[in-house]
């Protein structure tokens, strides 16, 4: 075992050497008792693995669990894909909304905002970090809400003066998502709007920002918080919470089926 060739002998045994080296090593082992013994030991260990270590397949229960988790993942992806396509039924309302925004802010400001957005890679992880940090910061005392109201007619106009976007604001208390207020956050180099919901004991922050023509990142998990992304028109949305995917998907579905104005 102390032979200087021992690593080469091992490589030979593991089939890692070419034919010429193999012939050399075989010739060497004929003369070297240490290397002959090493080869026998290697063979014994391999035999013991074959005899003693039963090939254990993954349990059927685990396979089923994984299959369910993949189903869920695909569903979340689909939801996101559906959200980034404009919906026929709500298009007139949205067109009006965007026209209103253009007339109010001015086309050049929108163009400038779009130009700023072009710098940002769609799925850049700094952005995800930014969102996760904003979510965590909001959970600290006195940080969650700037405007406390369960009335969307209070929250929505407040956004107009404090943020660069005008997201959908609806109270879904009947469905278990209680509107508790709104907040302005600096995100993506712009003043993003955050609509805050309470679902049971969980806080859900729904961030929205002007995503322009860019796609939103894939839904993911960061620091233990789930982030579900979708897009309506030029508005990117991300619901962040420690609640489950099903709950986030449900809230996203409700928001997407509500009129934008």
């Amino acid at each position: 075992m102390q032979c200087a060739e021992s690593l080469r002998v091992q490589a030979y045994f593991d089939g890692e050497v070419d034919a010429i080296s193999a012939a050399e090593i075989e010739r060497h082992a004929e003369r070297c008792p240490d290397c002959r013994e090493q080869l026998q030991d290697l063979e014994r260990i391999r035999a013991a693995f074959r005899e003693s270590v039963a090939p254990e397949p993954a349990p059927a229960e685990l396979r089923a669990r994984i299959s369910r988790a993949l189903d869920e993942e695909v569903r979340a992806e689909k939801l996101k894909a559906a959200a980034s396509k404009p919906r026929r039924d709500s298009r007139p309302a949205r067109a009006g909304f965007w026209l209103g925004l253009l007339s109010g802010v001015g086309g050049s400001a929108v163009a400038a905002a779009l130009a700023v957005m072009m710098w940002l890679p769609a799925a850049s992880s700094p952005f995800l970090d930014e969102l996760a940090t904003a979510h965590v910061r909001s959970l600290m005392p006195e940080h969650l809400i700037d405007v406390v109201s369960s009335d969307r007619h209070t929250v929505k106009p407040w956004f107009a003066g404090h943020t660069d976007v005008s997201p959908t604001v609806v109270d879904f208390a009947a469905q278990g998502f209680v509107l508790v207020g709104g907040r302005a956050d600096y995100l993506n180099h712009q003043r993003a709007a955050v609509v805050v919901y309470k679902h049971g004991a969980h806080i859900i922050n729904v961030f929205s920002w002007d995503a322009g023509s860019r796609t939103v990142p894939a839904s993911t998990t960061r620091d233990g918080y789930r982030m579900l992304f979708w897009k309506v028109g030029d508005l990117g949305y991300c619901a962040v919470s420690d609640t489950g995917w099903d709950e986030l998907s449900e809230l996203a579905r409700l928001l997407q089926s509500s009129p934008a104005a």
């Binding site: 091992q10 270590v53 090939p55 993954a58």
Partner: protein, 181 residues
């Protein structure tokens, strides 16, 4: 999307058994292995585009290994102290079959247990290269990719792992009638 799922199932899921075996040997716990593998497969699915025709098995096992590392760091941080024998690489009792099976209580069964026990008692960095080589039959290049070390390190770890296993084994079976010599 369904297409992605289909390609994923065809390319990656055939290695699920290997992922599970590897997770078992890394974590030395069946329930931990379940969680590690599920986490790893989901991450693999999300990052599936990154695979691009490279070695799916080595890729999945790399993710399994990362998930295991993350899980052990987290459990250490939460101070969920594992049973002492799971922590001590020199204690070989961690992997003993939990329930004795009288029907198979033969000498060969004892040998089997001795061997798996010795294997479980190896240092983590030694056990993982040996498991990848002997159970998963991976070549040095693949092992280097999974364990994220140079091939030279794979070779020296394999040599040390095999020497340690052989030394312990000889010690264990010394004098026994069915000693493997």
């Amino acid at each position: 999307m369904d297409d992605t799922r289909g390609r994923f199932e065809a390319q990656v899921l055939p290695h699920l058994d290997a992922a599970y075996r590897f997770a078992r040997w890394l974590s030395r716990s069946a329930s931990d292995a379940d969680d590690i593998v599920q986490d790893a497969v989901l991450r693999a699915f999300r990052g599936f585009e990154a695979l691009r025709g490279s070695d799916a098995k080595a890729w999945l096992l790399t993710i399994v290994r990362n998930c295991h590392a993350t899980a052990s760091r987290q459990s250490a941080r939460r101070a969920l102290v594992p049973l002492p024998e799971e922590h001590d690489p020199h204690d070989g009792h961690a992997m003993i079959a939990t329930t004795p099976d009288p029907e198979h209580d033969s000498i060969s069964r004892d040998d089997e247990r001795t061997f798996t026990r010795l294997l479980a008692a190896l240092a983590d960095e030694h056990r993982e290269v040996l498991v990848l080589r002997e159970i998963e039959e991976m070549d040095y290049r693949q092992i280097a990719a999974v364990t994220n070390v140079p091939i030279g390190t794979v070779m020296s770890r394999l040599a040390r792992a095999r020497a340690a296993l052989r030394a312990h084994w000889r010690q264990q079976t010394e004098g026994a009638p069915r000693a493997v010599r």
